[in-house]
Amino acid sequence: MTKSFNIVLAGVGGQGTLLAGKLFGLIAAKMGLDVKVSEVHGMAQRGGSVITYVRIGERVYSPVIEPGAADFILAFEELEGMRWAHLLRRGGTLLINMRRTMPMPVAMGQAEYPDNIIESILALSEGGTSVYALDAQKLAEEAGSVKAVNFVMTGAMSHFIDIDKALFYEAINDLFSGKKAALAEMNQRAFDLGSAIIEAK
């Protein structure tokens, strides 16, 4: 059987979901597979809830991932992880960055940021569904930049996905080819830290 992956990248505008989506696009092309990456541009990018869909397979039609069809969700923020958790299929893997960014209605006192998001999700997960919470921001800072959260998250998921790690490295290099070699190195470091934290668990 050929490989096929549905990956959801969920976060807050400005967290780098677009770049991570591009990374998977490059990887799929290297694997000789079809791929579609659906992005959010415009209004929602201004600090709104953003979601990028990546679909990889022999032949991909819809660029959007339906509820229950995601193999992986990489949530860059807790609330966004919960908002999109229903996209995960039974037996899929949800990775959550343990960080909270208050949406405006919460900061205005008109809504509550739910407590115990990760606990609530864990309590509901069953039948081979995996949920992992990690402090990706701390690891990104360790790697050299808070902006590398997306690569920490990708490194963490690389542990579960049937894609050769060498392809991730190649794709990171390609993303920052040319003048940005130092960025490639830093993001690879972030990727490795993400990968290592899961191994340690």
């Binding site: 799929a28 541009h41 208050m102 998001i117």
Partner: protein, 598 residues
């Protein structure tokens, strides 16, 4: 194994297709989801491209280029087509010399738009062919084909995109560009000067052209614009664009006719397909454009009786309507999880609009709004907007309020409009207000960029699309030159001073303009530096929460109740410093200045 391909946004693929087709001139006005097309064109050195001041101008530039014998293109979002509609309808009559392609991107689901209009209605109304790609590869191929059709049939050709096509990356194989030569110019008044006597004759040509194109698609002499996959004869689907992808996902068994050209429709071919299936369903997002035509042609079909007129479609929706196949099962039941509060977009840290809207909020002004990042001023915490319709409308609406109320509301009313929007169509409104003796007040929010659509240059920024220096419109001088007697300039970060000037301007008996000038915090001239980051004096802070109420993304309430400043996001605009009643927030710059003094 496939050969290595590029992974391009639909928009980037349109640009690539135009480049490969040898396009010479591209003139567009930005608008989500169409903006990246023209931005990508700018990376091809041999193509002349520009940001036009509005869509109508952009299309007119492309018409001129086509007349001069070059392949030309203009791109816009769906509502931009309304602005460009005047030249659009008549260039259908004149036809082209060099190929002329108009790209229009719809936004079903309104990810970034003020309405959900379906541009396919324009193809029908303006009587010109419209192609609709379903992925990036087709974006590239259809763009090349559009130029060929344009020249072959002497017609402008439209390409219709939707957000999911524009903003999805899919694999694309690319080719080398054609070396397209200018078609020598020939004066032809009968064809190009649309006065009644000439236009009457051209209308006949237009109707004949539509019939010929539809017939040529039907009899396959115009290839690659229709594909039929023969499946079960129980169910036949007619669809196009992104909806085709959803159909393939949801109904693998069905027979599917995919339209690459959605206007004019190849009715003969569709009739044959219809005859071979027991049940025929049209699946199209938004308006029943195809369905209505089929019904008018006597083809029995279903469509909007099964599917909504609103928003984007999904495979699940199609499965539920037409198949016994089950939708995938989720790992989590959404209703069992705590309710997720919404996360609407907000003004960025350091956004100059924020201070201005805080001033308007304090003034309790009636605000006629306009379209741009500043439309977020309508949301919390300022709620300082009363109406927002379309680009440029704020100024005319304020004048209308002035006249309707015999100036009674005028002292309380202001129009707010961005720099790009002002030059797009706001200036027309201002000329009208002055001419007709308005007493209204207009605030131009000059952040030196077209922010909302992702930071494009405009005629007031001093740079062109390739960031080369360009003449910059002097907004103060422009306003004075159309007869505005009072033009004030304020710094919106200084909320109090801005408020006082605006309050004064609102009292004046003639049109006044207040220019609130401070660059967008996301562009180099507006970006803060690490030494500008605000800090907190915990001894002075009473945890009153005043700073948190400005809703700056860089300020959050810490677990101990004290505000926390995110040094990465803080732009040093000092708005929080100004609202703090206890001087507990310390401006980064101030510290530096003090250090310099000591």
């Amino acid at each position: 194994m496939r050969d290595l391909k590029e992974i391009l946004l639909g928009n980037e693929a349109i640009a690539r297709g135009a480049y490969e087709a040898g396009v010479k001139v591209v003139s567009s006005y930005p608008g989500t989801p169409s903006t990246e097309i023209t931005q990508a064109i700018a990376s091809y050195d041999r193509v002349y491209c520009e940001w036009a001041s509005n869509e109508k101008v952009g299309l007119e530039v492309a018409i001129g280029a086509s007349l001069a014998g070059a392949r030309a293109m203009s791109c816009m979002k769906h509502v931009g087509m309304n602005v460009a509609a005047d030249p659009l309808f008549t260039v259908s009559y004149t036809g082209v010399s060099g190929g002329l392609v108009v790209v229009v991107a719809d936004d079903p689901g309104m990810h970034s738009s003020q309405n959900e209009q379906d541009s396919r209605n324009y193809a029908r109304a303006a009587k010109m062919p419209m192609l609709e790609p379903s992925d990036s590869q087709e974006c590239l191929e259809f763009t090349k084909k559009a130029f060929e059709i344009s020249e072959k049939y002497d017609t402008p050709v439209m390409i219709r995109l939707s957000t999911r096509i524009s903003h999805s990356r899919t694999l694309v194989s690319t080719n080398e560009p054609l070396d397209q030569k200018l078609i020598p110019y020939e004066k032809n008044m009968q064809k190009n000067v649309m006065m009644p006597a000439m236009a009457v004759k051209r209308h006949i040509v237009v109707e004949e052209r539509q019939r010929r194109i539809a017939a040529d698609v039907s009899n396959d002499s115009l290839e690659g614009l229709i594909s039929i996959e023969q499946g079960s004869n129980e169910l036949g689907i007619i669809t196009s664009g992104i909806a085709w992808q959803y159909v393939k996902e949801a109904l693998p068994e069905a027979s599917v006719l995919k339209l690459g050209m959605i206007w004019p429709l190849p009715i003969e071919k569709i009739k044959k397909f219809a005859a071979g299936v027991k049940r025929l369903v049209v699946i199209e997002e938004l308006d029943p454009v195809i369905e209505t035509e089929l019904r008018a042609a006597g083809i029995n079909c279903e469509g909007k009786d099964l599917f909504t007129l609103q928003g984007e479609y999904t495979p699940s929706m199609i499965r539920e309507a037409l198949s016994d196949n089950k939708n995938p099962a989720s790992a989590f039941d959404k209703s069992a999880l705590p309710l997720a509060p919404g996360r609407p977009p907000v003004m960025c840290a350091g956004c100059p609009h924020k201070g201005l809207f805080m001033a308007l909020s304090r003034l309790k002004a009636v605000v006629t709004g306009d379209i741009g990042c500043y439309t977020l001023g309508a949301l919390n915490p300022t709620n300082a907007m009363d109406v927002c319709v379309c680009m440029g409308a704020s100024i005319g609406m304020a004048h209308g309020i002035d006249k309707a109320t015999d100036s009674e509301m005028t002292e309380k009313t202001v129009a707010v409009i961005g720099d790009s929007t002002f030059l797009h169509t706001g200036i027309n409104g201002l000329i009208n207000s002055v001419y007709n003796g308005s007493r209204s007040t207009v605030i131009i929010l000059d952040n030196s960029i077209t922010g909302m659509t992702g930071h494009q240059q405009n005629p007031a920024t001093g740079r062109n699309i390739r960031l080369d220096p360009a003449p910059a419109v002097d907004l103060e001088a422009l306003c004075r030159s159309v007869g505005v007697k009072s033009v004030y300039t304020v710094d919106p970060a200084d909320t109090d001073a801005s408020r006082k000037v605006i309050a004064q301007a609102m009292k004046e008996q003639h049109v006044t303009v207040v220019i609130a000038r401070r660059p967008c915090a996301l562009i180099p001239t507006g970006r803060g530096t690490p030494d500008m980051v605000v800090s907190l004096d915990r001894d002075k802070c009473t945890r009153c929460g005043a700073c948190l109420r400005i809703m700056c993304p860089a300020l959050t309430k810490g677990e101990d109740g004290y505000p926390q400043i995110d040094p990465v996001t803080c732009n040093g605009c000092d708005l929080c410093v100004r609202v703090c009643p206890f001087d507990a927030l310390i401006s980064g710059q101030a510290t530096r200045e003090e250090e310099a003094k000591s």
